[in-house]
Symmetry: C2
Subunit: 376 residues, 2 copies
């Protein structure tokens, strides 16, 4: 899929030497004109230095963004803050801007000093490589991602990276969205927060919350007017598509389950139950073995909703009902046959109108191996 | 260790045919005289039928307990409740008691109908096998446990089973404690709740909460008077010893980490931070690989305490400080050398007086394999 940034925005992908592999690790996004923008960031108290920088610039028009992969610049103390400021100054000098017009983002391992001099040395090369194509930018921000993650709906395009340390209930991962729709940044911020809550906050890989999660939405404002309904729908579609691509590319994941909770008191209650199931190591291990161990689904829901009434609960794995209004159906063997690949897990928990779908993946021995080594 | 029940209490271990392996799967505890007792149970809304039965008998003197392994009798609907009642009636008939003097407990996979007729048929055999020895009772309640779990301090003895679906912040697993100390059941209940909170609620294997967790404390009341301080200290020791044995025998676990949080606002805040670290799949995988990835410790704490101030946080792995008041020390290689076996992880988070220690284990590929298959 060839996806381009909105007219007036270009990006470049560089290898500045942060990654030992020599793969791209520095991305630059540049706009001809000031951009309105919205951003949703991790709620983690250990938020990375670049997250703190960009968050402080919410509400101000910007012209460029510098993002590196291979190093999160998180939990790096005063040196981390200095590295962010130095990057903004260098980018401003390169592009003839003010440092306050530059947003900064990072992703990668936590706690290692960012080799900011490599970024500063490489930034002048970015000017030559700027292009409207989005895909090279993905390669600059990827870490253990194995697949390109792009989306385009209506006036919106987006790119994301994921892989692990993906947990619900906050903005997870890095995503950059662009539009030419002329929408005021405050309105964009509200729409983005809602769209993120319905998409990136409804996926779970390992229930671990990142220090660097960020979703950015940029608008050139040069396009045709668009209704907010239409824009909001496109925003939901772009976010949902990128979120699903992140789960599909989960570290060690071999299948995706769509956890559909209905009958809850409200949408957030339904999402909370879905996230609890998605975060259960035991249910995730059972998924990996195609084991229809639905008791682990009920115990996960019962651990976050103390007033769950089992006699109003029904659970289906794919088309097979395994638990019907409070009692087992005995159909576990038929259910196991539904679990060989992606499948849906449907949980009705009562008579309420609240419904939500959470996307999750299985827990495999490979996930453990991928995450057991690395820092030293 | 030869541990015996208090004088007047005996137990029996039987194989009634619930486990296909033919191993013991039915335990009976009988007291010559009425027992005062206290119990702490899972808070899960999907609490098993036997948990509901026993919980309803809190405050009444009892004479016997019937416990089976190999089947949790959880999420089994009306049939599960009927099986509990039938077990109590059969035990009452066997021992010449009233059904209301019988407590019931179960552990094993969730959601399968309990073959209660096998229990009923085997109960009369229990009379012949009653003995003051505790260890056979352990074998009756074990599931995937590989080691015997017994403890004795002062006037108290205890036995427990664990293995997985072990999460903090509730009574986790099954444990049965006995004493001859003459203490009123209401007082015992208060002391037990506190001891459980400081022990079983401070261990974590997989952050999954069971539907069957129960801790029982029985008193014959026939022993010498004991001060509440002395009794409470012994209760803490028995609970802490059994809790540690459960973590040491975690499914797939290869090492135990003692997560020591200090400087928090209060003890519960410290325990909450410790439990967040203990529950992090990423930190648990890093432990497995002896990878001193302390960034995962900070991100776990930052995800549950939004006001965590990194510049007041220090982290040590064993004797090696890796993060000192807000900045990395760079000592990761020395830290890795501390992680080959059991080790301590010390986190100072501020100037508060709150401190707590949480015991956790690593996440291994074997944990996933052990839990990926089994229901069908």
């Amino acid at each position: 899929m060839a996806v381009k940034w909105p007219e007036g925005i270009t990006s470049a992908s560089l290898s500045c030497g942060i990654k030992r592999s020599g793969r791209p690790d520095l991305g630059v996004l540049l706009s001809e004109k000031p951009l309105q923008w919205a951003g949703v960031f991790t709620q983690n108290a250990a938020a990375a230095a670049p997250v703190q920088w960009s968050r402080a610039h919410l509400g101000k028009a910007v012209r460029a963004l510098v993002v590196n992969s291979g190093n999160a610049n998180a939990c790096t103390g005063p040196a981390g803050d200095a590295a962010v400021a130095k990057t903004a100054e260098a980018a401003a000098a390169t592009f003839g801007l003010s440092p306050d017009e530059i947003l900064i983002s990072s992703t990668g391992p936590i706690g290692m000093e960012l080799p900011v001099d490599k970024i500063v040395a490489a930034l002048p090369d970015a000017s030559a490589g700027l292009s409207p194509e989005m895909e090279p930018f993905f390669h600059a921000i990827r870490t253990t991602d194995s697949r390109v993650k792009l989306a385009a709906f209506g006036p919106l395009v987006g790119v994301a990276k994921g892989a692990a340390m993906i947990a619900p209930n906050m903005a997870t991962m890095l995503a950059f969205l662009g539009t030419d729709a002329p929408i005021e940044s405050g309105v964009m911020q509200g729409l983005l927060a809602g769209a993120v809550n319905r998409s990136f906050n409804r996926i779970c890989i390992d229930a671990c919350e990142s220090t660097n999660d960020s979703v950015y939405l940029f608008s050139t404002g040069t396009g045709d007017p668009v209704s907010l309904d239409e824009f909001s729908a496109a925003l939901d579609d772009v976010c949902a598509t990128l979120a699903e691509q992140i789960v599909r590319d989960a570290e060690g994941g071999t299948r995706v389950v769509s956890i559909e909770v209905t009958g809850a008191a409200d949408e957030e209650a339904a999402a909370r139950l879905g996230r609890a199931v998605a975060a259960s190591d035991l249910w995730r291990a059972a998924m990996h073995g195609s084991d229809p161990n639905w008791g682990r689904v009920l115990s996960a829901m019962g651990s976050v909703d103390r007033s769950l009434a089992l006699d109003k609960v029904s659970v289906s794995i794919g088309d097979v009902e395994v638990f019907a209004t409070g009692a087992p159906t005995g159909s576990v063997e038929a259910a196991a046959a539904q679990m060989d690949g992606d499948f849906s897990l449907s949980c009705t928990v009562g008579d309420g109108a609240g419904a939500a779908t959470v996307l999750a993946c299985d827990l495999s021995p490979d996930y453990v191996k991928l995450n057991a080594f690395g820092t030293t």
